[in-house]
Symmetry: C2
Subunit: 388 residues, 2 copies
């Protein structure tokens, strides 16, 4: 039980496990809030920790663009910079190769970004990207990969798989420490054959865990869900399985049912700032006039800081008044909702009760229209170059 990843219980294809890094323990399935620019938008380190989070995600491309890798290294690392006592997983910039594609040239040996901040060239090569992540003190590193849009051709997908594989091998050789874990990324879009090919290649390498990338990029939801079903078959059981960029409550439950352990997404904080709040029955829109008179918390049974202290009526007022506090109260609730959902999920898996729980949850939770969801995500991705 002294390993980095210990499975506690398996319930059909769902697992509950423990990740231990630097003495910090994280139970999976877990969701990771996203601190793209070394800040989970509107929240500070202690608020995240008070919700229960001990593992968040940041992004090595954004850290390279600002404040800079050497800067962060000299400062003493990203944890110290943010005053974050938990763990940090850093994404590699592969996703930005897709989301900032108008500012990107993909080469055989890496990705050339024209910084979205000042236009300066940032040349990301696989080995350097690992070193960058080690330099800033990342606890779980992701190798540089190629993430393609949903409209990518078969040939493009095949090529991307080859390049991602060759970069993965380079990434492994670049490691200088086993203290920072390194996960491999499986690509292949929603094409099941290609995903299998990619998985075979990537899992042949000595990574500490494995991720599915290139999903949740606006593709048809059914195709995505279909692709996720392969996880239990394609990824080894004894290592963490991380599904990148997925974060709606229903998607999480379905993905956990398939066998995934870790998740990240800007969704809960992004929609919170737009007034969209998670409840067990689905999202609510706080701008709706019906909330003006409701002197109750977002969810009566929720014990988060926001629900313990503020009413729907007040949050409605804050949003109507464009008060910054509204964004924070909502972000805390949405992140607490996912944290609690993962806690319950772990409990259910421990008791081998997850299948029934998942059915009940999905029956109760009204999913956001997949098309609206996809459109919102595309809009967000397009805005990245400007917003961040």
């Amino acid at each position: 039980m002294n390993k980095f990843f210990n499975i506690i219980n398996v319930d059909k294809t769902s697992r509950v496990a423990e990740i231990v890094i630097n003495g910090i323990k994280i139970q999976t399935p877990c969701f990771m809030p996203v601190a793209t620019q070394a800040s989970v938008k509107s929240l500070d380190s202690f608020e995240l920790n008070n919700i229960g989070y001990n593992l968040i995600l940041s992004n090595i491309y954004h850290m390279a663009a600002r404040p800079g890798i050497t800067y962060l290294k000299d400062f003493g690392g990203i944890h110290k910079f943010m005053n974050w006592k938990g763990l940090i997983l850093t994404d590699s910039g592969g996703f930005q190769g897709y989301s900032l594609s108008h500012r990107v040239k993909v080469k055989d040996d890496g990705i050339i970004f024209q910084s979205h901040l000042d236009g300066k060239e940032i040349y990301f090569k696989p080995k350097q990207v690992v070193r960058y992540q080690e330099d800033i003190g990342s606890n779980i590193m992701m190798p540089l990969d190629i993430c393609l849009p949903k409209k990518a051709s078969l040939n493009e997908l095949k090529e991307a798989i080859e390049t991602t594989y060759s970069w993965a091998k380079e990434s492994i050789t670049a490691r200088t420490t086993i203290d920072s874990k390194l996960f491999g990324i499986v690509q292949g879009g929603t094409n099941l054959e290609l995903r299998e090919i990619s998985a075979k290649k990537i899992t042949s390498l000595d990574f500490d865990g494995f991720a599915y990338g290139g999903l949740g990029v606006g593709e048809d939801k059914e195709l995505m869900m279909n692709a996720l079903q392969s996880v239990n078959e394609l990824l080894p059981e004894n290592k963490p399985r991380y599904l990148m960029g997925i974060g709606s409550p229903d998607d999480l439950i379905k993905s956990i049912r398939n066998g995934f352990d870790m998740f990240d997404c800007v969704l809960p904080t992004r929609i919170a700032r737009n007034g969209s709040l998670f409840t067990e029955k689905g999202r609510i829109n706080i701008f709706n006039a019906k909330y003006k008179n409701i002197d109750k918390p977002i969810e009566e049974k929720c014990k988060c800081y926001s629900c313990e202290n503020y009413s729907l009526a007040y949050i409605h007022h804050l949003f109507k008044s464009k008060e910054l506090l509204g964004y924070r109260i909502s972000s805390i609730h949405n992140l607490a909702f996912l944290y609690n959902l993962m806690s319950v999920t772990r409990k259910m898996i421990k008791n081998s009760d997850f299948s029934l729980f998942a059915i009940d949850f999905l029956k109760e939770y009204r999913s956001t229209d997949p098309q609206i969801q996809a459109e919102q995500k595309s809009k967000w991705i397009q805005s990245q170059g400007r917003e961040n």
Copy 2:
């Protein structure tokens, strides 16, 4: 010692005193953070209380415009709405008669606002304004008054004093409870004779405290300071003296030296969101590149949440990255700075050491250029109709 206002010590013309309302004690001199729209921008009730604040300010015009007086009354009052356990002073809308003047008609019997939100007419009459404040549960109420721009003519000023006096008398008759205190407002701009006339009229009425209004509206700083010197002579000693709309650290010290007890201003939070932070040597601009590498708090001796947890380097990064967290960290610090300044001030007055302290403080504190300050304030006032 069971009165509403108890003077603890007088040091020359400066006083330290205690205000007691509903069992809550506030020591003066004190600064009141401003929650224009029932929210001190970017902060929540507990953060304000953790800094030490127990008395904040809100505004009855803004509450009437949104969410509405009847609404707030039915909800159970503004304290419950905000979940604020301390006291609230509400301004009367007189200032908005000036700051929103393009949307205002001043009549003999009141002020007609065309709501800055939806254009709806809001007719404020003196008696109703007191009832409104009682309705929402204000602890200290201000009567409707006429606040004029710095360019007002002598005749306009004289007329405003008469109207303010007549409204003040009406306001007193409108009270239905002594639980909500009611202060009188002295006007007269920077004209010493008029201020004296106004003071004589207003202090002849049975108010619980008295305020100087109509200052800090972009007038020449020397003229303003000159007008403040009259306070000890013109306002009674046995009641609180409140200087409205003043909040820079040097102005506070000077005003306390003259004999004022209470202050409010959006300045500390407004400039915080622009990256301007209080220190004992004056304001610093966090955008300045020199802070990028400073792994120290804003002020080493400051014990506020922001200074205990975050570095200048990180705050600089947050501002450069337009991260919402930066606005909050800065607002906490600026409000804590003023809270601590008031604490030290009270201690100095208790020990009859204030004169020397004031001289030392003002020597150390580099004032912001008065012209820049006046321009910033004008810009803010002009933006009110749009921003709030």
